[in-house]
Amino acid sequence: MKEQKTITLVAFGYIDRSFVENVALAVEIELNTEVTTMEGHLDLSNYYDVKRRQYNGDELLKFVDNSYNSYPGKTMGLFGVDLFIPILTHIFGQAYLNGNTGVVSHFRLNNEFYGLKANKQLLQERFIKVVIHELGHTYGLTHCHVPTCVMRSSTYVEDLDQKSSSFCDNCRESIN
């Protein structure tokens, strides 16, 4: 039987190790649980859509779900490529509601993507919020209307910057 509280962050492709460790620490504090990190190996070209020049988030989620099903608790695949799902232009991440897996990407969280000056600190903060948000979905949380809650829906980076990396009281209570 899986221990629901354990979380594994699997980094695919090149993602700075200290960056991943910092994310893991923030998740550990926010969710008060043990978080382990590891590197994943995957030929991303199989998930590349030539027409859209993006990577298929639905297929990557299925891959993570199939590959890490035997892992305890929740598993989140971390990517650095531009993710899409067929119906949407892009996604920051997605997860199975009440499931065990999710995928997130920092590709569109980087200021440089929008022609702005790089800001590593801001990038890390945004990524932490997206990871915790998708983990929230795996714990069964839907989008929250509290402006500062990490479960508030964010379709732009500006939305991400408006909210905190913490759950509101209601959402936290639902997880516990």
């Binding site: 859209r52 639905d58 899409f84 799902i85 067929p86 119906i87 949407l88 232009t89 892009h90 996604i91 997605q94 199975y96 509601l97 979905h137 839907t142 989008h143 829906s153 379709t155 732009y156």
Partner: protein, 451 residues
């Protein structure tokens, strides 16, 4: 709003329905998917959805045809079309057919969120509107028509049965019986209730003014007609026109009125353009119109045109059992408007009211109760607070008007310990006027008189 919004996604591509399903589930909506228009229509035969998000191009039946069929199912759903760039023209056609909006694949997540949020607001507004309309309907029922007597029940039954029709109604009854309330009750229970009820007191206006009042006038039609003015018939478009004291209108106006009733068309005074208006006519009279027809003072053709339904409002003396209910209603009404606790009425007072004949009908009773509340002791209405105490019917004072005024002012001053401000307020005059009256009638406090 607490109600969970439901969304039906219709698309033949599984990847699309799966993606959208996950997206909406995360937003907390109730979501169901259908792989074809046919499947969607089968679902919609037994379930209702707030929002239907449908692909425009599907094998078998396309989104446009499905949208038409959804509308024929009388579904109140908001339909949003999903389209590829190539089918924008078709999406525009869908909008012309009444679809709420369309969105081009692939969607920007923010656009999708906005679209669904706006659709949700519209659904909430629609439901709020419906709730408010229901509330208004329940407010505008026949609650002002008070009475439990058989005669009054018959009136209420007639009101309910004629309300839904478009027929002309004549309400007859003595002055003060509540003919206008009956007219209001008919209007507010009719399909025309969201349009105006326009009242015209025919007896209050001379012929030329009544003509201008009913039909309106053009600028310069007569001296003083500075602007174009809409008439009451025009104002009542879609609603009801209530013609009170119809028996008082002149022979010329009777002809004019008949013409309007028959054609629904008229011209403003001084105008040359025919105006159409869709209104229902309710008339009221305290005269016997049939007798007037026999005497030749009221046109027979107009009488039969108006008298499709005749409602007779009984005088209060013929439904004395309603007096206690009416008294209770008026006490509550006036205590509320005076911001006071509801008071009782003594048994002797109610008995006296039941014995009285009320030539002025309900209006007279209402005035009596209002007066009793103003001059009474604010604990209960006593027999002496009613103008019937002596057993005479609304006695005419034998003293002069000045003598009466003097007595009334003295009473009020004594009652409020000669507090000039309070007494002036009760008498509804300013303090200076009260001082002048005190001086004029040489009024003194009881103590002063004793010395």
């Amino acid at each position: 709003m607490s109600k969970k919004i439901s969304i039906l996604i219709v698309d033949d591509e599984k990847s699309v329905t799966d993606s959208l399903y996950n997206w909406f589930i995360e937003d907390g909506y109730y979501v169901k998917c259908a792989a074809s228009a046919k499947e969607a229509l089968t679902i919609l035969e037994s379930e209702t959805y707030h929002i239907i998000l449908a692909d425009i191009k599907m094998p078998g039946m396309d989104g446009l045809e499905m949208h038409r069929r959804i509308k024929s199912l009388n579904q109140d759903s908001i339909v949003i079309m999903m389209t590829a760039f190539a089918s924008v023209d078709t999406a525009v056609q869908a909008l012309k057919d009444g679809a709420y909006d369309y969105i081009t694949k692939p969607f920007d997540p923010d656009d999708l969120s906005h679209l669904i949020r706006n659709a949700t607001s519209q659904i909430n507004l629609k439901e709020e509107n419906k709730t408010l309309k229901d509330k208004i309907s329940s407010l505008e029922n026949v609650e002002d028509l008070i009475g439990e007597s058989e005669a009054m029940m018959q009136v209420l039954e007639q009101v309910q049965s004629v309300a839904s029709s478009n027929s002309s109604v004549i309400i007859s009854g003595e002055s003060g019986t509540g003919k206008e309330l009956v007219a209001r009750a008919i209007h507010s229970n009719s399909p025309r209730k969201y349009f105006p009820l326009v009242s015209v007191h025919c007896g209050a206006l001379p012929e030329n003014l009544l003509e201008s009042e009913l039909f309106g006038h053009e600028k310069g039609a007569f001296t003083g007609a500075m602007f174009n003015r809409k008439g009451r018939f025009e104002m009542a478009d879609g609603g009801t026109i209530f013609l009170d004291e119809i028996a008082t209108i002149s022979a010329k106006m009777q002809v004019e009125l008949l013409r309007v009733l028959e054609s629904g068309k008229f011209m403003r005074v001084g105008g040359n353009k025919e105006i159409s208006s869709d209104f229902r006519v309710i008339c009221a009279t305290n005269k016997d119109l049939k007798k007037m027809v026999e005497n030749g003072t009221f046109r027979e053709d107009l009488y039969y045109r108006l008298n499709v339904v005749d409602i007779k409002v009984p005088p209060l003396r013929e439904r004395k059992e309603d007096i206690p209910v009416l008294v209770d209603y008026f006490i509550e009404k006036y205590c509320k408007s005076m911001n006071r606790e509801k008071v009782d009425i003594d048994k002797a007072a109610i008995k006296r009211l039941e014995e009285y004949d009320f030539p002025g009908n309900v209006r007279e009773l209402e005035n009596m109760i209002e007066r009793a509340l103003v001059i009474g002791n604010s604990k209960s209405i006593r027999l002496k607070d009613l103008p019937l105490e002596s057993g005479e019917q609304a006695t005419t004072p034998v003293e002069s008007l000045n003598e009466n005024e003097k007595k009334h002012i003295k009473n009020i001053l004594d009652k409020y310990d000669w507090n000039i401000s309070r007494a002036a307020k009760i008498l509804q005059v300013d303090r200076a006027t009260l001082y002048n009256k005190i001086k004029k009638y040489n009024l003194k406090t009881s103590g002063q008189e004793n010395h």
